[in-house]
Amino acid sequence: MRLERRSHRPLFLVLVSPLIAIAAALAIAGILIAMAGAPVLEAYWRIGVGAFGSRLAATETLTRATPLILTGLAAAVAFRARLWNIGAEGQFYVGAITVAALGSGALSSLPGAVLIPILFAAGALAGMVLMLLPLWLRLRFSVDEVVTSLLLNFVAVLFVSLLIDGVLKDPLAFGWPQSLPVGDHALLPKLIARSRLHIGLAVAVAAAVIIHLVQSRTVFGMRSRAAGLSPAGAVFAGVPFGRTLVMVACLSGGLAGLSGAIEVMGVKGYVTTDLSPGYGYSGIIVAMLANLHPVGVIAATVFTAAMFVGADGMSRALGIPSYIADVTVALSLLTMLIALFLTQYRIRR
């Protein structure tokens, strides 16, 4: 048996590969559910019902998807240029805490129409700054940005913990470490009444579409793809490599920071150190499932968010730990890698 490179990638295979990957991940996770002594099909049916079975369930899934679309986009734009930004989790938190600091203080008397865009920009800017440090270390000292951006995640959460234990601590929170709440003007309007779903979803979807247009229609998009396909080739073709990477890093870090900002302004109104159940890391999975396509990120996010939201109810009913959602989603990343490989190679006897 040997592997043979295909002369071209069949478009059909590329399009169905995420579905095959997800089916394979569900099948493997099904073995775990069966080993834990629960009926597999019922478990998946309950996850589906928990995620989409009612108006409340569906809006919860979309609410959960909102920050994840943005962290997924953050990973997708960076990975497209082979910039390994694994720091979306930390960028999410600095975006969130920046919004809490500005939105609870001096600016909170501004009208919403002015305040909300300012806070979006501030959150995105904070995420950008946090991503520029690993990029600078890469360009200046050739340090692999994977490890540095990962390590900064821990620093960012500690930084948030420091602030919400100190200057930004809410004195009315019965001693719990949580930040001051943002003012009412800073809260995002609801998209659907009597739900938690807010206009952040529209922002996230618009971001995906805009990024798709930028990547497919602009010089910057072409350059960032070239930088990812072959750095040496890109430089030879006259692409300003460093500058392109800086722009990609700003875009990626900015999206992750915006994600944190939107989560604070849309859902909770304040920051705790468990604001994100791993949105930054799940974003990587979402980006890979979408094959780094910005619009595909939206579809991949709906699957991921549905697993997380649906698993809670399934867990209560069947006694299977809800971590099964994390396992399935992580597995889908590995199966997706294999599925993508098989679009490029075929197995010959």
Binding site: L3, L32, A36, F79, W84, I86, L137, F141, S142, V143, D144, V146, V147, T148, L150, L151, L152, N153, F154, V155, L158, F159, S161, L162, D165, G166, Y281, I284, I285, M288, I320, P321, Y323, I324, D326, V327, V329, A330, L331, L333, L334, L337, I338, F341
Partner: protein
């Protein structure tokens, strides 16, 4: 100033240094072995988490402490096999595969732990490794108490660093590993099987990572809880660069790092009222980043690191 001196002169500080260093020594040695043959293993964080979980669960269910260590090593090797299948046989991106394995191994650890141990206000505990006083040496003044009253896995970690230095630099196998990491095509021309070498180093390296994780639950602490590895795996990846891919320097780097960590813990106790504790907790991560920045250009990277090897393809 005298307080600072007293801290430095306390045997407790040096004993803590060795204790904190142990999982880092195991993890860094494992990562060095993988990278020496040309494969980056970012699965380390998840493999350490899984090792911590499976080692603890083995002992919790009545197994011997060493059976727990062995179970962690075998589980690590199994994840190593998965990593090797994806990165060596299929030649997939080592970055993304490694992260995928970390996410998979850590979520699987939490799942299996929760399945076996229901949620409780205080996690159940086991009887961990007891300090092992080496006869005569532990009676030496000061250093005897600091260095020679550790638990058995700490001594094992130090011996492992010596053993790996010997294997990598003094044996034909070590030469084959280094050649595979520098130029797998040339290695193959010399009759070495680069694929076999890479499978071997990744599996043994991952077994060491698993063992390092198990030290956390079987010696340093006595219970398992999610996120307990706390980035130690990523710190190991940084230490590999700091150590210039040399097992001996990996040992030194881990000890140096652990010394700073042990020292900041004591500073935290002394200055906790003045400086918030979070600042101290950030120090290890900044130290790792600084070590990377200083060493990245100086260190000689294995030339074939992160390049997949396919026979007859360039």
């Amino acid at each position: 100033m005298t307080a600072l001196f007293d801290t430095l002169a306390s045997a407790g500080l040096w004993a803590a240094t060795l204790r904190i260093a142990t999982p880092l020594i195991f993890g860094t040695l494992g990562a060095v072995l993988c990278e020496r043959s040309g494969v980056l293993n970012l699965g380390i964080e998840g493999i350490m988490t899984f090792g911590a979980m499976v080692g603890w669960l083995t002992v919790f269910n009545g197994g011997d402490l060493w059976a727990g260590m062995l179970a962690a090593a075998l589980a690590g090797a199994a994840f190593g096999l998965l990593h090797a299948l994806l990165t060596v046989t299929l030649g997939l991106s080592q970055h993304v595969t490694g992260l995928g394995i970390t996410l998979f191994a850590s979520s699987l650890s939490y799942f299996l732990f929760r399945l076996n141990v229901p949620l409780a206000s205080s996690p159940p505990t086991i009887e961990p490794f007891q300090p092992l006083s080496i006869p005569f040496l532990s009676d030496l003044p000061f250093f005897g108490q600091a260095v020679f009253t550790q638990t058995a896995p700490t001594y094992l970690a130090i011996l492992m660093a010596v053993f790996m230095t010997y294997v990598i630099f003094r044996t034909p196998l070590g030469l084959a590993i280094r050649m595979t990491g520098e130029n797998p095509h040339a290695a193959e021309a010399q009759g070495i099987n680069p694929v076999g070498i890479r499978y071997g180093t990744i599996m043994v390296g991952s077994a060491l990572m698993g063992t390092g994780g198990a030290f956390l639950t079987l010696s340093a602490f006595n219970s398992f809880f999610p996120t307990m590895v706390q980035g130690r795996g990523w710190i190991c990846i940084a230490l590999v660069v700091f150590a210039s891919w040399r097992p001996g320097r990996a040992l030194l780097g881990a000890l140096l790092f652990a010394f700073f960590d042990a020292f900041q813990l004591r500073l935290q106790a002394a200055l906790g009222g003045i400086i918030p504790y979070q600042i101290f907790l950030m120090i290890p991560y900044f130290l790792s980043i600084a070590a990377l920045a200083v060493m990245a250009r100086r260190a000689r990277v294995p030339q074939a690191l992160m390049q997949p090897y396919r026979r007859g393809e360039r």
